[in-house]
């Protein structure tokens, strides 16, 4: 743990911190079972980096992402986004925070089935301050030919890319991705990862990807391992690998 802190301290000298969590815990009830999802997490995320958070299911990675994204609140500890304290932010403030700064990508895409690809993106750009046109966002993920298709008419990979377009269309500072390739085969998964990398490089967006697939970690600037609700290890890569080089 001491080594981790030192590493983080070194990194923070030349990089701007986007997220900062200290002593974060989260307990919730699932049905009749009490779940201790986070048990004291100290972590910093830096501007423009691509991090991969690895961990088995139940390690607390989704909960951590939800709290950083302002979808959920912590039971104790603190979380900051730049100079904004999210720990005690009101629901209204969290809503504005999500609206202005965060893009989400979910494992099961969570597209609205009754809306076309373009409309699924538009539903977000309509409430954003400085969005790109939905068509442009869809072009960025390679879907400019399928603007008017409904989710049921798209493959899984295409649906996930629509979800990414939806997330990046408002030009967020951070993109939080929860198992973005979890429901996809490896070939399609790699296409989705390429889209994420493209966004990270083109738009300087901080990208955090949650996965339990070790291989994906190789394309990250840093790999953060979680276990039983704690940060187990942080590993920094000298060189990121291209998504196209990954195999699983």
């Amino acid at each position: 743990m001491a080594a981790d802190a030192a590493k983080q301290a070194e990194g923070s000298r030349n990089r701007e911190v986007v997220f900062e969590t200290r002593g974060l815990t989260k307990t919730y009830l699932m049905g009749e079972v009490e779940i201790h999802a986070l048990q004291g997490v100290d972590l910093d995320l830096y501007a423009g980096e691509l991090v991969v958070m690895l961990g088995a299911s139940g390690s607390g990675k989704s909960t951590l992402l939800n709290i950083m994204g302002g979808l959920d609140t912590a039971t104790s500890g603190s979380v900051r986004y730049r100079d904004q304290d999210l720990t005690h932010a009101s629901e209204k403030a969290l809503t504005l925070f999500r609206r202005d700064h965060v893009g989400f990508v979910f494992q099961f895409y969570n597209l609205i089935a009754s809306l076309t690809a373009r409309e699924n993106v538009a539903i977000v750009t309509e409430i954003s301050r400085d969005p790109m046109p939905p068509e442009e966002a869809l072009a960025l993920v390679g879907l400019k030919e399928r603007l008017d298709h409904f989710p049921a008419q798209l493959s899984g990979g295409e649906q996930q890319r629509v979800a990414i377009a939806r997330a990046i269309a408002k030009q967020p500072a951070v993109l939080l991705c929860d198992e973005p390739t979890g429901a996809l085969d490896s070939k399609t998964g790699i296409q989705v990862l390429e889209a994420l990398k493209h966004i990270n490089e083109e738009m300087q967006t901080t990208v955090a990807i949650i996965t339990h697939n070790e291989v994906i970690g190789e394309m990250a600037d840093r790999v953060i391992r979680l276990r039983d609700g704690r940060v187990e290890d942080i590993h920094e890569h000298e060189r990121r690998r291209e998504p196209g080089e990954l195999r699983w």
């Binding site: 699932m30 049905g31 629901e91 969570n110 009754s114 809306l115 409430i127 408002k170």
Partner: protein, 787 residues
Amino acid sequence: MRALNRKLLRDLATLKGQAAAIAMVIASGVMTLMIAVTTLDALTLTQQRFYEDFHFADVFADLTRAPEGVGERLRAIPGVNRVETRVKASVRLEVPGFDEPVRGLLLSIPDGREPLLNQLYLREGRLPDPGRADEVAVSDAFAEAHGLRAGDPVLAIIRGRLTTLRVSGTVLSPEHVYQIAPTDLLPDYRRYGILWMNRRALASAYGMEGAFNNVALSLEAGGSEAEVIAHVDRILARYGGIGAHGRDDQHSHRFLHEELKQLRAQAVILPTIFMLVSAFLLNVVLSRIIRNQREQVAVLKAFGYRNLDIALHYGMLTGLIVALGSALGIGLGLWAGSGLAVIYTEYFRFPELSFRLQAWVILLSVGVAAGAAMLGTLRAVWGAVQLPPAEGMRPEPPARFRKGWLERSALRHWLDQPARIILRNVGRHPLKSSLSVVGIAMSLGLLVMGAYQLNAVDHMIDTQYRQVMRMDLHLTFSDPTPARVQSELRHLPGVLAVETYRAVPVRLLAGHREYRTSVLGMDERPYLRQLLDGQQRPQRLPPEGLLLTDYLAQDLGLRIGDRVRLEVQEGHRQTVTVPLVGVVDEPLGVGAYMWRPAVNRLMREGPAVNGAWLLIDEQREAALFDRLWDLPGVASVGMISESERNIREYMADTILMFALVFVLLATSIAFAVVYNNARIAFAERSRELATLQVLGYSRGEVSWILVGEILLLTLAALPVGWLIGTGFAWALNQAFSVDMFRVPLVLTPGAYGFATAVVLAASVAAVALVVRRLHRLDKVSVLKAVE
């Protein structure tokens, strides 16, 4: 269009069946509210205008005869504005080409001009020429019924003399908006006519020269009606006055007033029921949608949509359904309103009855519908607003199931797996299951109430005309006649039985309440005109004491044994206190009854009668009518079968028409509720059912899980629905009890049976539709899709 709004429209498109069903219920509520309020408004306004423009009098009095000079004394009463003395004569009429007896009322108007009070609205032709003694203006309803035009002849027997009168024109009067003969309950324009004749001509024909026998007065602003009435009574007492009365006891006004009272009840009860049902349905549907879309809600929130946006989104979904229902309801209301206008102009004779649709009525109806919808959906929308976004992203935890008491009982060995699934599904959400049961029960209740109206009206008329009024003809005499007239009548051709009565106008007083009616002095054991007790058994009249219609006794706050003050309104005008010895159960009209010798004693007269009931041989009806015409003392002849036919027609036009529409609406609601339930059960179970099919269950077995659940809920709803229906019928019965009739609270097994059959049929249809869907279910895709 915004993407969120597109989602709204597409959500609505997938819901179209359910949305249409709910919109239909809303439409019913909007329509009934609109009709009731519009009619109420139209009648009130028209009545007010007609009364004002044509100077409807405030106080009315009948008397035997007073010299014209007495009019001056009446004019001098403080608080009196105008006075119009009149000659009023009950006559028998004969219209060429119409064989049956016709009763007539002749009223005088000043020669060649409009009276000061109760002025006439000229529909056609002109008022009688002052120079002609034979001209009459006739009520337009009577003219219409007989096709009478200006110049046509009408024969009248005035004081035993046959006179030929000529129609000068047709008119309407604020005094006779509702035109019924004194002993009738409903207008019969062919057999009762009102005619206006020049004062001098009528006075000379009726032997009233220089005198009057009826007077109408209007009050000055601030004049006290009670004081003026007391004053008028004092002045007219020695001229045979039978008690002045205000508008409240004026026949036409009273009926109009009762009609308005009924409309007011209608304006509240029926729309309330429909709006409650629509609120309930919206609650069920919207809760389900929101539960289904919790992940979408979470995504929207994750991307920064505010709670308000989410609330508005689902609020708009409700709003669209309300808008659809309202538009439909307004259309239906307009259509039905104009139909109703025709019916009302038939019964209430106004110069014009303008049914105008006012913006505020539409706003009110739509507002009530929207309010009910909001009430119904508030909880579900609040749930969406409250949903924490992160929780929405997680799959819903598996529902908690328990073993119910049935499964722990000895029955458990009989339950197979599907039966267990059914029981646990029902038991899992006791609130939701009970809401479904309540929904089905409510629609069943509405059907019971509709069927009740259809049955009870028949029952009411049957009771009145099979058990109470068993005579064929009803005669009234112009003056009290010695009782031996009974044997004279008995010997007329075709007469099988005769009973006579003595009717005397009275005022009944109990505490501060009063009621004007006639007390009927009858035989000790009347047979042709029965007095039934609560168990429908004929009662006998005791030598002393009074019997009242139960509704009247209740209205006066009297119980058996209480004493009631009885003021005779004619002759010596005695006041006596008599005990109430019994109540009479009769559905139509209200009355007071005594033994005839007791009435004769009260009047200080010998055995006299002024009316008779006859049972006749229909074959010899024509011969009998010929002879009746020749009897000078007979003032009127009424045919009971005609009154029965009239009241049946009236009921068919009003209550039954309404009940029929109501039953149709209730049927559609029953289907909507059951189908909604089935559809939702299907949507919630489709994964489970597909899984079972994949595991090797047959379609039939899988269908049974769904069918069994719907069946279980429907069966559970039956007794509840019967109870709710009984309650609805009771409420309607209370609201619709008026002087004219009381629909009895008779709920036949047929009513329950009919309602139950409709609900079961709706269940079968709904189940069939849903099972068809189940068979088309793509098992694999359902299993793959993420809920």
